[in-house]
Each structure stands twice: as structure tokens, then as C-alpha cells.
């Protein structure tokens, strides 16, 4: 039997949301995710970065079919799961959310929140087994058994996020979508949670899709990184390659815009400051979407969408003027 190269794969994924407003019979859509394709190997972490409106969160949720895709295909371990009943796959693919305050039901105890996962999939042989599993999961994320009877509002942000991770782990998944899991946490807590993600990946052999807007954290935890802009992936490469040898003008300005926590380097840095604002996803620019803010944009960019090309081994980008940029 052939081993599939990717554990999770999406091909030509599209997610369009209808938008209110507009004239009577005009159907306006937000092209949140527009023809996105990538694959994630087993045990790998693929990072997905981009700014607001780029579609990274929507991609993650559509991958889990929390939104039904408008078009395209999703594959898990070689099987096309775009239109099947997701219940058995919910055990294999899980998600950790951004907001530790909103993603836990305030009326349930922490133990019940984790237990819900166990109950839905009938993973416990009885009450005692259920309790044992919950305690073991709490221990895995660094909380102790007495926390099981407490309510979410009694915990700090970092602890609540740990509860969210324990819940995702309760079904023993192979793949976890991490949807901006540390963005809402204090800086001193972020490192704790990031380390936990790494440790769990080592111990349990997990595969991650790590979505964030902070490239520093994404680079730290990911093997490969994809950069999104207005619903499209503009560049995809190995982390080191992307950070130091990026080719797409957007990636380069993104990297240059990140403030470096080092005064000497910061003073010397040459910043590529992008003009203008991010265009509206309801009405994206024709051709290459980035052209309105790009120093190299011209009529070719307006007329034609750039092709997704392999620039060097494993390094892909979509831009008409790659040679000019570099």
C-alpha cells in the first residue's frame, strides 16, 4: 500500500461567504479563501501567517469542515473527506482556539469540558475510567486534579488555554489546527504554551497547522511556513528559507515590518514600509492581489494572476517579477 506523502492535504480550496448589502439581485461574496492548496506531512508543523483578512483562520476552520467549503477538496491520510460524515474524523483532527475566554463554556466545570470530548465519542469504560482520563489529561497540560471541579472564570488566560489543549487531546487526535493559540496571552505566558505545544508534538507524534500573525512565533515552531494575503497563498517554504531567503515582495515587507527586540539591529535595519491599507476582501484587486501595495506592480500584474511556481526545492511563490525583486 502506498504511503501517502501528506497526512492532511487541501486542493484548490475555496471559501466564499455571502455578504449582506449590495443591490437587490447582486450577490456579493467575500472570497475569504480563494484557491488554496497545500499539504502537511505526518509529524510536521506547517505555519500559516498573514494579516487580518488574509483567510488563514478561515482556512484552518474550513479544513475541519467547521465551514462547508465552497469548492475544492480536503484529504486526510489519502481519503477525500470533503463531503463525508465528519464524526469519525473528529477524533483524528482537532482544534485549539485563540480566545481562551470564549472557547470554554462558562457554565461547565473544567472536568466536564474535557469530559464532553470523552462522552461524545464514548471513550470511557465507566465513570471511574472517565475520571482517570480527565485527571491524566490535566496532568499532561500541567494542571492538577483539584482543578477539575473549578469553573473557567477562576483560571488565568494561560491556564484556560491549557484546558483547551487538554480538551483537544482528549480524543487522541493525530492532527491539530492551532488557531492563533497564543495571541491572546501575556508575553511571559506565551513561551510556556508554545513550549507545551512542542513537547506534546514530540511525545505524541502530532501534526500541526499553526496559524498566527506573529511570524517570530510561527518561525520558531514550524518546519514550513505559508504566507497568505487576501485569500491566497503567496509564498510557501521551509522556515529558515522563508525567513532569510524569501522571494515574494509581501513576505519581505512583512518580515521587515516586524519590530526586532534588539536595539542595535533595529537601528540598522532597512525597513520596507508598505504604503496604503489592505484592500477589502469583498473587492480584491484584479490579477495579483498584492499589486496595489507592491513596489513592482505593473500592467502585467493587473491583468494576470501570477502562477504558483517552484522557485527552488520545496520553495514556492506566486509573483510575476521574482527576478526583479531579488
Amino acid at each position: 500500500m502506498m504511503e501517502h506523502p501528506y497526512l492532511v492535504e487541501v486542493k484548490n480550496l475555496k471559501q466564499y461567504f455571502p455578504v449582506a448589502g449590495g443591490r437587490l439581485f447582486e450577490k456579493k461574496v467575500v472570497k475569504a479563501v480563494d484557491n488554496v492548496s497545500f499539504g502537511i506531512k505526518k509529524g510536521e508543523t506547517l505555519g500559516l501567517v498573514g494579516e487580518s483578512g488574509c483567510g488563514k483562520t478561515t482556512t484552518g476552520r474550513t479544513l475541519l469542515r467547521l465551514h462547508e467549503p465552497t469548492a475544492g477538496n480536503i484529504f486526510f491520510d489519502g481519503e477525500d473527506i470533503t463531503r463525508v460524515n465528519m464524526l469519525p474524523y473528529r477524533r483524528k483532527m482537532q482544534i485549539v482556539f485563540q480566545d481562551p475566554y470564549a472557547s470554554l463554556d462558562p457554565r461547565m466545570t473544567v472536568g466536564d469540558i474535557i469530559g464532553e470530548a470523552i462522552d461524545i465519542h464514548h471513550l470511557a469504560a465507566g465513570k471511574k475510567d472517565r475520571r482517570d482520563q480527565i485527571i491524566s489529561l490535566l496532568a499532561t497540560v500541567g494542571l492538577n486534579s483539584e482543578h477539575a471541579n473549578r469553573y473557567p472564570h477562576e483560571f488565568s488566560g494561560g491556564q484556560r488555554q491549557r484546558v483547551g489543549i487538554a480538551r483537544a487531546l482528549a480524543v487522541n487526535p493525530q492532527f491539530i489546527v492551532c488557531d492563533e493559540p497564543v495571541s491572546a496571552l501575556d508575553v511571559s505566558i506565551q513561551a510556556q504554551v508554545v513550549n507545551m505545544f512542542e513537547q506534546l508534538q514530540e511525545e505524541l507524534g502530532l501534526t500541526y497547522l499553526f496559524i498566527a500573525h506573529d511570524l517570530s512565533i510561527v518561525k520558531h515552531i514550524s518546519n514550513r511556513i505559508g504566507v497568505m494575503y487576501l485569500g491566497k497563498i503567496v509564498e510557501l517554504a521551509d522556515s529558515y528559507e522563508l525567513t532569510f531567503h524569501s522571494v515574494h515582495p509581501y513576505t519581505r515587507s512583512l518580515i521587515s515590518a516586524i519590530p526586532v527586540a534588539d536595539p542595535k539591529t533595529s537601528r540598522k535595519a532597512k525597513r520596507i514600509v508598505l504604503e496604503g491599507d489592505v484592500p477589502s476582501p469583498v473587492n480584491p484587486p484584479s490579477g495579483c492581489r498584492f499589486r496595489t501595495r507592491c513596489a513592482y506592480g505593473d500592467e502585467l500584474c493587473a491583468a494576470q494572476e501570477p502562477e504558483w511556481r517552484e522557485v527552488s526545492t520545496g520553495h514556492f511563490a506566486a509573483c510575476h517579477h521574482l527576478d526583479q525583486v531579488n
Binding site: 482537532q94 470554554l104 464532553e116 461524545i120 471541579n149 473549578r150 477562576e154
Partner: protein, 346 residues
């Protein structure tokens, strides 16, 4: 910007590393406070709500417990004691007292058929309260079920269900009650002859019509409120999390949506009770309520209108009772809403 001098009174041992145990002692979690305990605590602090609660308990006591031990019954017509003023004794009674018999005074006098008025007011309160509670229960059940289904499924299901609600809103309720009373009159009378259905005669066809109408028409307000709550709640991230775990729609509605609505449901129901009581009183006042001789605060008020000049207390007593009941439930409901509103917390 410093005070560098170290006092030589400090112990050298103080500068040894602290153990983990010593550090942990400082990070204790606070006492666990559940949602209900917190809400009850806030409610207790609200003096007005507490007073209303006491008044309501008193009213329940007077309506349900006291009639059991009261010497008079609401339907007993005492010959010779018609139209007595409050605390007045009839000739027969005074004769009886002279012979040493102890006659309990008529605190509110008697009506034109010689029935003790105080017990009739108490029974009237009981009827009004029961109608209010049962009707609110019906509204709660139908309204929350309808509202949660509409809110949860959204889309055209929601649209159709809400258009039906809009249509129901336009229906004139009094008209329907009258029509139903007329329509139900014969069939229910026939039914009440059969075994096990005698209570229909006691309660009266009209009252049954009222309950039917409540079930048909009055739940729409609750449905709208529940639907809007559900619409907000279903966008919460913990609902998405439950879906990601593979929870079914039913599981989500039951475990996540309705439980988070309970605060609203309790408050809305508590505020619905006085509204139902008022509706019943007003219908009874019009003569569409309970059948005689069963009293209702509304029917008592209605009957008292005739003799208003000579016996004003016959109107004031039931009117005061209605006012007190409705006011206390409203104040309690307000207090509950303030106590359990998550946005007002901390």
C-alpha cells in the same frame, strides 16, 4: 533613585534561596464561586427584591395554607349573614355568641350571598396565582422550545417560524377567547358528564379556553426572547468547539445553549407570571374567567362594582391583592435579572 544601605539587622539566612514549597504557598486559588452562588449573593444584597420575595412567600402562605385552616369555606352561604360589613356580626351570629359559641369574625364581611369575603379573596388569590403559574409554565415550555429551534437552525427554518410568530402577534386575543369559549361550551359540557372529568365543571369552560389560548397565542414573546439569546449564544466559540468535537445539534442545544439561557429564562418567566395573572384577572373581570362559585380576584372585583357605594371594601380588597401580587413578582423579576446578568457582574 535607590537606598543602597542594607540594614545590618537583616538575617544572612534570609538570602538563601527559597524552596518551591515556600513559593507555592503564595499562589493559592480563590474559593470556588459557582454561577448560582454568585447570583444568589447579589440577589440577597438587593433589599427590594428580598422584601418582594418575603411578600410573595406570605401571599402563597395566605392563599394555599391558610384556607385549609380557616373556619369558613369560599362557597358556603351562611343564611342570615348576607351583606355584613367588615368585622360585623349578623343577628344569628350574635345570638350564637351569647350562648357561648365562638364565632370567628368576618374580617372583610360577607357578600350578598352570605359567603365570608376574606376567604373568598384568599381563594381568589390562589386561583389567580395558579392560573398565572400554570400559564407561565405553558408559555415557558412552548416558547423556549420554539425559540431555540428557530434560533439554532437559522436560515429559512428561522424565517418561516418567525413569520408565523408575527402572524400570531396580530391575532386579537380577547376575540379568540370568546370564540373558543363559545365553541368549547357544548363539547366540554358533554365531556364533563363523563367520569373523571367533573373538574371541568368546577374550573369552568371559560378557564379552559383561557389556558388553550395561552398555549396558542401568548408564548410568542418568550419565543422571540429565547430565539435572540440562542442567536447570540450559538456564535460563541465554545459552541464551535463543541461542533469540532463532533457534538450533535441536540447535544449542543441541550448542554450549551439552553443551560446558558437559564438565567434569562428564569427572569423572563418570573416577569411573565404577573402578566398572566393580570390577563386572567382582567378576563375574569369581563366574565370570561372561572365559573361561579369559584372566585378569582378579577371576578370578585367585577361583582363588587355594583355595590361600590355601599361596600367599597369589596372592590379594594381584591384590587389591592392583585396589585401586591403583580408588584412583588415584577420587583423580584427585576432583581433576578440584575443579579444574574453576566454583563453586570464584577
Amino acid at each position: 533613585m535607590s537606598n543602597n544601605k542594607i540594614s545590618l539587622q537583616l538575617n544572612v539566612e534570609d538570602f538563601l534561596p527559597a524552596s518551591d514549597a515556600e513559593k507555592e504557598r503564595l499562589t493559592v486559588m480563590q474559593r470556588s464561586v459557582g454561577f448560582w452562588k454568585d447570583g444568589v449573593r447579589r440577589l440577597k444584597k438587593n433589599k427590594i427584591s428580598m422584601i418582594s420575595l418575603v411578600v410573595i412567600i406570605l401571599i402563597f402562605f395566605l392563599s394555599f395554607i391558610v384556607p385549609g385552616i380557616y373556619p369558613y369555606s369560599y362557597e358556603h352561604q351562611i343564611r342570615g349573614s348576607e351583606n355584613l360589613a367588615p368585622m360585623q356580626y349578623s343577628q344569628t351570629e350574635m345570638n350564637a355568641m351569647e350562648t357561648g359559641e365562638h364565632v370567628f369574625p368576618h374580617i372583610l364581611g360577607t357578600d350578598n350571598l352570605g359567603r365570608d369575603y376574606a376567604i373568598r379573596v384568599m381563594m381568589g388569590s390562589r386561583v389567580s396565582l395558579m392560573v398565572g403559574l400554570i400559564a407561565s409554565g405553558i408559555i415557558l415550555f412552548i416558547g423556549s422550545l420554539y425559540g431555540s429551534v428557530a434560533g439554532f437552525f437559522g436560515g429559512w427554518v428561522d424565517m418561516i417560524m418567525m413569520r408565523i410568530v408575527d402572524m400570531i402577534y396580530t391575532v386579537p386575543d380577547i376575540l379568540i377567547i370568546i370564540l373558543l369559549s363559545v365553541a368549547f361550551d357544548q363539547p366540554l359540557k358533554a365531556l364533563s358528564q363523563k367520569a373523571g372529568f367533573q373538574w371541568i365543571q368546577v374550573v369552568g369552560v371559560n378557564l379552559i379556553s383561557i389556558f388553550v389560548v395561552f398555549a396558542l397565542l401568548y408564548w410568542v414573546g418568550m419565543a422571540r426572547i429565547v430565539r435572540s439569546q440562542i442567536l447570540i449564544l450559538k456564535e460563541q466559540e465554545y459552541v464551535t468547539a463543541a461542533r469540532a468535537l463532533g457534538a450533535s445539534s441536540g447535544h449542543i442545544i441541550k448542554k450549551h445553549l439552553l443551560t446558558n439561557c437559564i438565567g434569562t429564562l428564569i427572569v423572563t418567566t418570573t416577569l411573565q407570571i404577573p402578566s398572566s395573572i393580570f390577563t386572567e384577572s382582567f378576563l375574569s373581570f369581563l366574565g370570561l374567567g372561572v365559573a361561579a362559585p369559584m372566585p378569582s380576584l378579577g371576578s370578585l372585583a367585577s361583582a363588587a362594582l355594583n355595590g361600590l357605594q355601599s361596600y367599597p371594601h369589596r372592590l379594594f380588597a381584591p384590587a389591592l391583592a392583585i396589585s401586591v401580587i403583580i408588584l412583588s413578582f415584577n420587583l423580584l423579576g427585576d432583581g433576578l435579572r440584575d443579579a444574574f446578568d453576566p454583563k453586570l457582574r464584577d
